[in-house]
């Protein structure tokens, strides 16, 4: 009998160990609530409208073989900086509007520069050769530069591609965020945020929407 008693004690211990859960039993009343953001501090690193542009004299290699800075790319009324890349589907969805924006910038004396900060894929899809190929395929009419070590992206707090920053003639940020409100279907766009901001900037008017958001690919930092 002693053997049987020991077996049952062992069995009980094993059962207790084997069946313990990583959670306590909890009932889940289905009470709809909104997310409560109050207990997480704001931590966005993106520059806000009104901030000075950063690293304006830093030279960056362009697909043309020249080196450019934000200052050298700036137009009489300001500069549009688009953090972009070669393969992101959101870039590709919006990319047809790059050329329209370049034309608008030219008409409004605003410079335009596309910046590739994907240092993490520089040996592959975001190499200088691939950047040249992309620009040629899509008919870019504006500079497309390499941001070594994603330093410009870090300085601007750019998080994704595409991520746009519009600077005035003093290289102060006046608009950041989305190109418009429909990446996939240009015909369904209802708000052309960036285009409206460029018009307002060049006309000396207040920009209505200074900051907007859009989904995009994470910038591939090292």
């Amino acid at each position: 009998m002693k053997f049987n008693q020991n077996v049952f004690i062992l069995a009980a211990v094993l059962l207790a160990a084997g069946c313990s859960s990583d959670t306590k039993s909890q009932s889940a009343p289905a009470v709809p609530v909104s997310a409560d953001p109050a207990n997480v501090a704001a931590s966005s690193s993106e520059k806000s409208a009104g901030s000075l542009g950063s690293m304006s004299d830093r030279m960056m290699p362009d697909i043309s073989g020249k080196e450019l800075s934000l200052t050298s790319a700036k137009g009489e009324n300001g500069l549009l900086v688009i953090f972009s890349c070669n393969t992101c589907p959101w870039v590709q969805a919006w990319e047809d509007r790059y050329l329209t924006l370049a034309e608008q910038c030219r008409e409004k004396s605003v410079g335009m520069i596309a910046v590739n900060s994907n240092e993490g894929s520089r040996d592959g899809v975001d190499s200088m050769d691939e950047m040249r190929a992309r620009a040629a395929k899509m008919g870019y009419t504006f500079p497309y530069v390499v941001d070594r070590n994603s330093e410009l992206a870090d300085a601007f707090g750019a998080t994704r591609t595409p991520d746009v920053f519009l600077l005035d003639k003093d290289l102060t940020l006046v608009y950041r965020g989305a190109i418009d409100d429909n990446a996939k279907d240009p015909a369904s766009v209802t708000r052309r945020f960036l285009s409206e901001a460029i018009d307002a900037l060049s006309a000396g008017r207040e920009i209505a929407a200074k900051e907007t958001k859009s989904i995009g690919c994470t910038i591939k930092r090292l």
Binding site: G18, T23, A28, C217
Partner: protein, 180 residues
């Protein structure tokens, strides 16, 4: 004294107790076909409501992803495993932010990943959806929020964190939950 039944019982107990499956993970019948992924349209209000349904019961991990997002795809299996490992205490809510014409690809991906619980497809425009989900989210993918069982956000990641970071945060949160 007959020792045979006791030995059989001990063997059975040992087999049960030493099963490699996590204790709160439902074990499906071996021959049961896996349910097809469910993809439900959702906006930010609907998502908040879904998160709220688990209030008082489970922690919730919301992961906003896309099939074209390499870091999303890379971390996805780890999040599926998190759900499997903590089915009784955590609910993972996947929200696809793919373009509308990518729905078949989303379903196919979910099938390959073995996701057999309801997941979601973002239908709201970015300008309304992003700030409503989390004010500090700029829009980069993946975006992941960890809610405690009271529905409060305790962690937020924009972009994929170091591998294991989300799992550590979940384990820490669930450990704290047990102490309550």
């Amino acid at each position: 004294m007959n020792r045979k039944p006791a030995c059989i019982l001990l063997a059975a107990v040992l087999i049960c107790a030493c099963s490699p499956s996590p204790p709160d993970r439902p074990i499906p019948p071996p021959a049961a076909p896996r349910a097809a992924p469910i993809l439900t349209d959702i906006d930010s209000r609907g998502l908040a409501s879904r998160v709220g349904e688990f209030r008082g019961g489970k922690a919730v991990l919301v992961n906003i992803w896309a099939t074209w997002c390499a870091p999303c795809v890379e971390e996805f299996p780890d999040l599926v495993k998190l759900q499997r490992d903590h089915a009784g205490s955590l609910q993972v809510l996947f929200v696809s932010a793919d373009f509308d014409d990518q729905r078949p690809g989303v379903v196919s991906f979910l099938e390959k990943q073995g996701v057999d619980w309801e997941t979601f497809f973002k239908t709201e425009n970015d300008q309304d959806f992003i700030p409503a989900v989390w004010p500090e989210w700029s829009g980069a993918l993946p975006a992941t929020l960890l809610y405690d069982k009271n529905g409060r956000v305790v962690e937020f990641w924009e972009g994929a964190p170091e591998r294991g970071e989300i799992e550590s945060a979940v384990r820490e949160l669930l450990t704290e939950t047990w102490k309550e």
